[in-house]
Assembly symmetry: C2
Homo-oligomer: 219 residues x 2
């Protein structure tokens, strides 16, 4: 654990933690130790699940074999993103904002095998659950992990890489039939600062009784 | 807002809040005011979503018409639960633990129209997302809401009632096509105390690299 990072960036104030849990795409090379990961994964277990069944598994991916599967997923994800958004690898001397963002995008995906930590979130669908609601048994746990990581000073990124390398990840991590991959989170000591997230105001997304009536409150 | 409840039960310590966000099935009759609900729904917006698209809407259900739809869902849910788990309405003089739990179950569902607060969580699936991963754009927000409510001293319960009254809720709340119902959370000033959740130890659900290898840490 990078103790100075903890002292600089960790927080135990609930509201501050929540409001500053943002995505990071660049991490310091220092490793994240298992005690800290286990603490954040314990926080993941505090999430609710239907009937308190806790139908989840959290797999820390660290071996060269599992990281190779992560890299495959990231490579395919990058190919999809660059095609959809018409992004090209920027010239070395291009210092525009768009170029810097593209450079970070390539660096993140091409360095996927070497991220400080990668955690695969798996869920077992229960009988009769529709596919969307299966997520109610795993994404709250994943969110708890993100928040606990941020409280500890760790930066995180939710990726879709697992969806691009499902068979490879299932094979290398020996995921049993009947379990689904639901998320792949990258974590590490962040490059950059925690700051408030940017979101639409609650008045745009909260309604009272019907879709067209905003939930209004006194200022 | 019941100020004394806040002073008794609210907490701003991140780890304490997380570890004591448990389900409540009984609430005091006092209402929950909109300023507090809006504050907790703002915390919901701090959750991540793919591409920061925030494809969510949170609908506070309060009118008699929307509450009637909630009651329909709860009634059907109760019918399902009592059938699957062979639960019968307990005799008035039965004070066994099983009878008390059954009594709470009936009271909760039969009082669904009158819970202090009910919030419907909706999500818009994005193109090409598989149904499970759609949940990654709404359940983290729902979890943030649960945590923020608990930090404020409010008890919550995640219910599946929406799944039993989808058409009724869609009609009364005027949910547009292209949006899905993902959750219905009940909230109120809790009867009973917050306390640590009961979960399997992290060593049973966290693995290193493969399914069969527990993530172990020094004590």
């Amino acid at each position: 654990m990078a103790a100075d990072s903890v002292s600089v960036n960790s927080s135990a104030d609930f509201w501050h933690v929540m409001q500053t849990t943002r995505a990071f795409r660049r991490f310091k090379p220092e490793p994240v130790d298992d005690v800290l990961l286990a603490r954040c994964l314990e926080a993941a277990t505090w999430a609710p699940s239907g009937g308190n069944q806790q139908p989840w598994r959290f797999i820390v991916l660290r071996s060269p074999a599992t990281r190779a599967a992560v890299a495959v997923g990231a490579q395919r994800a990058l190919a999809g993103i660059t095609e959809v958004y018409k992004i090209e690898r920027p010239a070395a001397d291009d210092s525009s904002k768009r170029a810097r963002m593209a450079r970070d995008l390539y660096a993140l995906h091409e360095g996927a095998a070497d991220v400080p930590a990668a955690i695969l979130f798996c869920v077992r669908p229960l009988p009769l659950m529709d596919p969307l609601s299966v997520g109610s048994n795993i994404y709250p746990a994943m969110q708890n992990f993100l928040l606990a990581a941020r409280a500890s000073g760790l930066g995180t990124l939710v990726t879709g890489w697992y969806a691009n390398a499902g068979p490879e990840l299932r094979a290398v991590a020996n995921i049993p039939d009947g379990w689904e991959l639901a998320g792949l989170v990258v974590a590490g000591w962040p490059e950059g600062q925690f700051g408030p997230v940017r979101r639409k105001p609650v008045s745009e997304v909260a309604c009272l009784d019907t879709w067209s009536t905003a939930l209004t409150t006194p200022d």
